[in-house]
């Protein structure tokens, strides 16, 4: 099961036959295992990794450090929920160390992201401070390298 998860994390576009062969299972077993993983809430979804810089579209991502005052009854979870309900919010993580949440936001422009932080994020009850860091360039995400890798010029041809 762990092998199957690792394979899906690597490339969820593989066919069941390919996944089954790599995980050394029958196709039926692999299909059943994937269904169970989905049913159990282990496998949440499949998303593409996009290098927006190579597209014709503008896309800005920011990583925001957020400090909050946890509430007595619900701790951090209630505030996290108020943050993640916004569509603009891509990811929210509870952190150890110097601040409480990492919030990742994407927008069409710097201004759009900045306005979201100023108008929406900062005004959420319990949020005491934010520090916004814009991502300037992505090099690698989920083991995928963003820059086009040069290939070796000439290769073995068996002369």
């Amino acid at each position: 099961m762990k092998k199957l998860l690792q394979l899906l994390e690597e490339d969820c576009a593989m066919s069941t036959a390919q996944l089954a062969a790599l995980a050394d299972m029958t196709e039926d077993d692999a299909a059943a295992a994937i269904k169970k993983l989905k049913d159990d809430g282990v496998l949440l979804g499949n998303k593409a990794i996009i290098n927006w810089d190579n597209s014709d579209y503008e896309y800005v991502t920011a990583l925001i450090e957020v400090n909050v005052t946890p509430q007595k009854s619900d701790g951090f979870d209630r505030i996290a929920e108020r943050i993640y309900q916004y569509d603009e919010v891509e990811s929210v993580y509870l952190m150890s160390g110097g601040f409480d949440f990492t919030v990742i936001i994407s927008g069409r422009s710097l201004k759009e992201v900045a306005l979201f932080v100023a108008r929406k994020l900062s005004t959420i009850e319990g949020v005491t401070g934010t520090a916004t860091h814009f991502i300037l360039k992505k090099y690698k995400e989920k083991h995928l390298i963003f820059e086009t890798q040069d290939q070796q010029q000439e290769r073995f041809t068996f002369d």
Binding site: M14, A17, Q18, L22, D24, R155, F156, T157, F158, D159
Partner: protein, 389 residues
């Protein structure tokens, strides 16, 4: 000048490779998929590349000892013991070569006298016969059979031995068939060779890519060490083809002679490659396992794929090739493969390129991404549908 009168006649008599035309055609195509070249598709692991880079940064750019760095030979010795239970003294029984190919060449040049016979099981890698012929020796091809899972049997060996037999090549795990030799198979071979002076050249370059059981080296069989030369290297196990690193192990009486040849022809293997190889041996066992697991998954996928398409396909147990039988197409393996390349832009190699016994088969290399392998299977299916009509 009439160069045909100048160039050594034995070299001239070597036929050019029959598969070159495939690669020439493939290079002109867009969207071609090559399951032809027998080379790992992975890049050398970073920590190994980094060790090579670091040696350059430090300015380690001089020759090394002829037989290779002492540390490298010590690590090779430890590795062979750890992985295959072989005992070789790094100081006197190992020489580091420029790829496994040099080790094969050196062994033949060092052992063979004119007229000696070299038994070469086929289908197998194409270099053994020509290298023997260059040394004025005579290659004796022994066809291995699909029904024996392309293993060399004791009977086949016995039938090929003559008073002139000097060497037996054991190319297992085998390119192109994917056959391996189990312990009991090697014991039967050892029994035949007992009381002869035949030297075994054991090309174990694919030893780490053994998917069923563990690789058994002929040298580990009782009575065989004294007559066996073990060829191995870094290309296939660590994805290091371009670093050109191999080695030869054997009795010190032979290795000392081989080292003389290596010293005059090569001097020493590339220094930065030797540093990278030390790192590979010290910290690369996990890489080997990772690559092997990946190839094994592809092997299962491709094998299922070929069998689902109706091919009679032996379950390869080593290396990274399948060797499906294509006789049911009614075509020669050359026609089948050339037709596939022209119609669907998928390059596989006709079995006939690998010597007697290869006709009727094709070599398909699965050192390629699952995506390409999946697409190649789709195209092969389409091709089969067109040739059936």
């Amino acid at each position: 000048m009439d160069y045909s009168k100048i160039v050594n006649s034995r070299i001239q008599s070597i036929a050019p490779s029959g598969i070159r035309k495939y690669f020439n055609l493939l290079n002109e195509m867009t969207d071609g998929i090559s399951l032809g070249i027998g080379e790992p598709d992975f890049v050398t692991p970073w920590h190994i590349r980094d060790a090579g880079i670091y040696s350059l940064e430090k300015g380690y750019t001089k020759y090394t000892p002829n037989a290779g760095f002492t540390e490298l030979r010590t690590e090779i010795s430890k590795y062979l013991k750890r992985r295959f239970g072989l005992e070789y003294d790094g100081a006197s029984e190992i020489v580091v070569t420029v790829g496994g190919s040099e080790a094969i060449d050196l062994s033949m040049r060092c052992i063979l006298n004119p007229g000696d016979e070299v038994i070469v099981p086929t289908p197998s890698f194409v270099c053994y016969g020509p290298l023997a012929a260059i040394d004025c020796a005579v290659p004796v091809y022994v066809e291995t059979k699909a029904e024996n899972e392309f293993r060399l049997t004791a009977e086949e060996l016995k039938a090929a031995i003559t008073p002139k037999t000097k060497m037996l090549v054991l190319p297992y795990p085998c390119n192109p068939t994917g056959a391996i030799m189990r312990k009991e198979d090697l014991e039967a071979i050892a029994e035949v060779l007992k009381d002869t002076d035949i030297i075994v050249l054991s090309d174990e370059i694919y030893s780490e890519l053994t998917y069923v059981g563990k690789h058994v080296s002929p040298a580990s069989i009782p009575g065989m060490r004294e007559r066996t030369l073990v060829v191995n290297g870094f290309s296939k196990s660590y994805s290091m083809t371009g670093w050109r690193m191999g080695y030869l192990c054997g009795p010190k009486e032979i290795i000392s002679q081989v080292t003389k040849l290596h010293q005059y022809g090569i001097m020493s293997a590339p220094t930065m490659s030797q540093y990278a190889s030390i790192e590979a041996l010290k910290n690369g066992d996990d890489d080997i396992e990772k690559f092997k697991e990946e190839y094994d998954g592809r092997r299962r996928f491709l094998l299922n794929g070929f069998r689902n398409l109706g091919f009679d396909c032996f379950e390869a147990q080593g290396a990274f090739y399948l060797f499906p039988c294509i006789k049911s197409s009614g075509m020669s393996s050359d026609d089948f493969c050339m037709g596939l390349l022209q119609a669907e832009k998928v390059a596989i190699i006709p079995g006939s390129a690998f010597g007697p016994g290869g006709e009727g088969f094709a070599r398909v290399c699965y050192a390629n991404s699952m995506k390409n392998i999946g697409e190649a299977l789709n195209r092969i299916e389409r091709y089969l549908n067109t040739i059936k009509k």
